[in-house]
Symmetry: D3
């Protein structure tokens, strides 16, 4: 008898009970201030993941050998930001309560707040490792507090000083960089200091890893809402992400800000797919 | 001494006090359920308006001969829908209170609700003429009531039965079409009945004209969030819009749903510019 | 417990045993002579089908009310044409043998040959109704007989004269048009004669309906391998397809030649989705 | 021995001495006021001509049966408008002096002036048939007299009143339409009056036929510098062009304003190729 | 009372009298030999500048703290190259005579000649620092001397040997590289020697800085007329430009060759906006 | 008398008898498993080659000084893979038998097999130098042995162990990398080991050089079927290719996998043109 083909991310087709990592999409972009469209990110990485291999020659590991379920997208209540965050938090909390690692695909960066709330609830001593072009530390954006431009500030509201480790940041208001000096552990412009952090923290702390793909240079990753020239190249990101995911105790993770309709040649989506594979294999 | 070039819509450069019509942009698209991007609509029509002429050979009139001010975009609080609608209402109310006609450029269709609230406040016996591919009559969309898919329903909440005249509608849920049977004056699929309505109402009633440009066939107007095949062609729209604007008593007006980033060849923006010119000359 | 979201064509999510119509994708384009890419057609119509409604105001019917299963794509042996056709024939034969109607989404037009072989095996007195810009009646194309440009000729090899009814044809070699004069029932340029055919044949004969979407004008349907100016508009196609599918005894069907990577604005995919909905509701 | 493949327009590969019609490209666009890029027009029609057939089912004629040479592009002195026009005039004059018909592919519309000078030199009683969206009758454009926006005015400088027959015009300044009233034979908006003109003039006069492809609606022909909504469809153009070319005494001809870099889906180039084929077969 | 929003480059909204730097656009591209479209450059950088911040974390400076006026585009006489250069020269001379620094946004590289004439008139001992992929040292291009490909040669006509410092050059005819050996100070392929030049010249000489953005690698800057692989990355350019602008005595400046219609993903425009910000802050 | 302009690759217009290198196009892509379209590669490099110069400042050589003929594309029998390979083999064999070097432009990578068969027939001791992102060492792909994903394996079938030198490989199945360990000389991820190989082999062996352009990072070369992030930049490729072509005894060569319809900005085609120039000058 015929049955439906299920389109999941490449080889992430395990049953929920068997899965160690559970992927889900959060197709939300309503607070995007410049170019929207990250809502199409999760679907794009699924479709295009079949352009890469399951095997990583860098790590000599294969997605076929690990247990990941792609549970599809949450059907979000577009137009009601707080409701959307609650839906995301609920999904992440369920996965965490079943002893699995939630792996969220955005969407814009604000979705991190939903999943992080669930993770911080379970792990009060959690740290955040944050790769991004933008500081995302504003108190508000045109009067709106639940904005992608404020997401790490909202996380800081929850966990406070010295627990947010930011890398690659190359854009923000002056006040954000000043805030970072006293409240976060910011390493601007590059990912060069990542190995040092991994060495310092090791597996002693639960860590939420949030990867805003615009940390990549726009030449490598044009398909995003706010291209910011001067970022890292793919190998630099691959190495740093692998270091974080294999060296730290990752309890939850997200990859966000792919906007595929600005990715006319498909190279951004390919970069997203490959870094997701490398993270899954490194965790 | 040098002064700044002001970029307005073509020839709409009168001072506020001298203007009979005041144009403004409402760059909002946060409740868009499919492809976002109409926030770039107002800017695109300004830039590209210089590709058309100020003179209309159809009407033998010229934008140089009338008094229109383009007052630029409102800086909207993206991420807070109710606040956005209030900002729009305030701008429209100001223009109306000064005895001028507000002419809003969207943005997604929900922006109509803001301007319409102001118009209905001033003109309690107002009617709506609505050209669109979609009925926009849902009670809610995934639980959200302030959604582009509900905008005419929200207007109906204000003015009730038999005052909304819908033309060109070719998409919606079954329940929307059933609602229309008893609550609105719906003429599906074409604009053929427009002259009859103009004849019936004439200049006896104040009228809000809301034009969702996706009433056009996607071949003519690809640059929109939800392309719906089977629409009218440009000349059909031009004739119907001119009939409405010259034959009825238009007190406020909007043109919405241009999404220029899906308009790779620029033809949608050109169509928007030209229909705006024709409406301005016909009012 | 979480389960995978299954991505099917809009509302075509019935179980196989309950389905009256079974949809499947045939993502093949290896014999395309001009611009390849129709292999991405089935995936595109699934993803983008969520931009249209399940309800048709034209027919006052809803996809929710009928039983259709979308069984996903066949994983084809790209590079071996004969093997590909055998895979398609096998899928269609299985569906036919279970008393259901196969509904194939191409892929290039050659895929029709696979499904038609199965249908002609079950229904030896079968007719073909063929909407297309191109005659597809060549004996061979650069020496290759299994080519999209020869597909109706290969069907004719099976069923012979006077059983292929061609509409909308506006391109071909002189020899194809001469072949048509004595061997097929060709109505060039338009779909105007479709109602007459429906009247003549009625439900007395089993009919295979093959719709090459490039019968549409390229303005309506740019996303195809060989755009041929001068085609029908969407409403003309919608009316003719509905007449065929509601007036004739359709036993198998296909819709082909959508090439989404040439459909930058998404209007071709939207047209494909909507005509598929209308056909499903009319059968 | 191997020899070079010569890329000509489809089947236009006769030797110069054998040719009745000689095609050449004039890749010039330096006076374009809005979106440049028509310089790529001649190359695009050659490359893409292989997507259509040599046979026309409309006329039941085949390019294989007539004698056309495509002599390639003139290497123009970009940056010096008068020199460019002189180069074009020289090429056209050579072809005319050898008793052949020059068929120029633009390039922007100003190139017509070069070829027309040669034709008017040989045929002092020449008429012009002009299909276009724009009147092109300005005395100057921002002080520049050799501009695409002035080209028919420059032709009028040579031949004077009542010899320029304009069809499809739907854009211009008021002064251009007023000029037309007393100096040209203008039929705005459509091509409906073309058969009447053909009947009146017949083959009694030498005629230069200049076809600005933007007479087509932008939905059919998006790939042009200044898209002007509200134009004719492909079949209307095909019929009118065939009427002109078979019913009048065409001594020179041009087809211009294809700007392929705005033609993302290739439909404009396909339309250009097909209308060129139809014209060649009708002359 | 409402007033017009003025669209200027990000935060460059000072009054003329208060400004130290005056920006203007020169939307000219008529001598472009390959892909035109740089005329849309100035408008694009204004619109898209709102995607970046006013603050530079590299320099710890903010555009809000300096006095720049964006005076809009000059309305150029397209089609008459010499007239265009005269218009540009006049604008630059006015700004220079008022003791301010002109900052021109091209347009193609030939526009530099207009502004440089004004600067060399005021500062006879002026030097040029030139970043580019192309040498631009031809005596003529197809017989035309006022061409983008000759612009540095035309500057050399004015100031002679050893005053033009060229960096990053990786393309040209053999004769251009030979000319450079004896007449200019050329440092091909990279920007590595820039700090050495800054050290040598210091603030002792007035310097005109002309930045052809195609010195960037096409991966970083695809939106240009003539992409030339093998260029520098964004950080290399940022560092070199900052060194030039903070270490030398810049009296006039231009940034040119952005062609936004080839910049489908917007990354080139973002790069242009960011380097303009960095230059403004460094001067 | 007028004659046809022949469009060849830049300056490769020598007669066959005079040529040392003979270029030809193999526009084939039927076994492509992801995004087809490399069939348009040869035509694109010809058209766009005029955007670069004939002179290389890197090598101080000029295409005008060497003898290359571009013999155009083979008209391939699309749809019959074995026939296509035979056509390619025949063309390469003819060129080799006349003592010239065949230089093939693909097309997908499988075309290499045709030309390599001819080269291995003439030079039984031939080696292969292979630059690629993908190992291309599968025994079969979905049961098909003549697939682009198997092409080096098919070459290995002919020449066996230790004669295939692979560089830059960063993608494949685990089994391909294991195969490489014992059967090929694989240097994954970079081109750094190329100089060492050149030193070892020198001019002692005949070498076939096959360059899959996707060895470049997708930021530099987006226009390809299967973008694989993490590749080399243009200068790294240029240096390695020059080392191979000037240091080894190249008897045949190909450059493949440019898919221009995914190269919206033209940068991939520009990279292909420039590397072809550099290879031609280095051989």
């Amino acid at each position: 008898m015929l049955k439906n083909n299920v389109e999941t991310f490449l080889a992430c087709d395990k049953e929920y009970n068997d899965a160690d990592i559970v992927m889900f999409g959060a197709p939300f972009d309503s607070t995007t201030s410049f170019r929207p469209g990250t809502r199409f990110g999760p679907n794009a990485v699924r479709s295009e993941s079949f352009g890469i291999e399951t095997y990583s020659p860098y790590q000599n590991r294969d997605l076929e050998d690990i247990n990941v379920m792609d549970s599809g997208d949450i059907e979000l209540r577009i137009g009601d930001t707080e409701a959307v965050l609650a839906q995301i938090e609920e999904r992440a909390a369920k996965i965490l309560s079943d002893g699995k690692i939630p792996f969220m695909i955005g969407g814009e960066h604000l979705v991190t707040l939903g999943a992080f709330r669930a993770a911080a609830e379970k792990y009060p001593d959690i740290h955040i490792v944050h790769f991004d072009a933008h500081a995302d530390l504003r108190e508000d954006y045109l009067g709106v507090k639940l904005s992608h431009a404020c997401v790490l500030r909202r996380c800081w509201d929850i966990i406070g000083d010295d627990r947010i480790h930011q890398f690659g940041i190359r854009s923000g208001e002056r006040s954000e960089f000043e805030f970072a000096k006293t409240h976060t552990d910011m390493h601007p412009f590059t990912l060069e200091d990542v190995p040092q952090l991994v060495k310092e923290i090791g597996r002693s702390k639960p860590v939420y890893f949030t990867l805003d793909l615009d940390v990549l240079d726009p030449s490598v990753f044009p398909g995003t809402g706010t291209p910011e020239p001067g970022g890292v190249n793919f190998d630099q990101l691959r190495r740093a992400a692998a270091a974080v995911c294999s060296g730290l105790n990752i309890v939850a993770c997200d990859v966000n800000e792919l906007s595929p309709h600005y990715d006319h040649s498909g190279i951004s989506t390919a970069a997203a797919c490959k870094i997701i594979r490398e993270i899954l294999l490194a965790i």
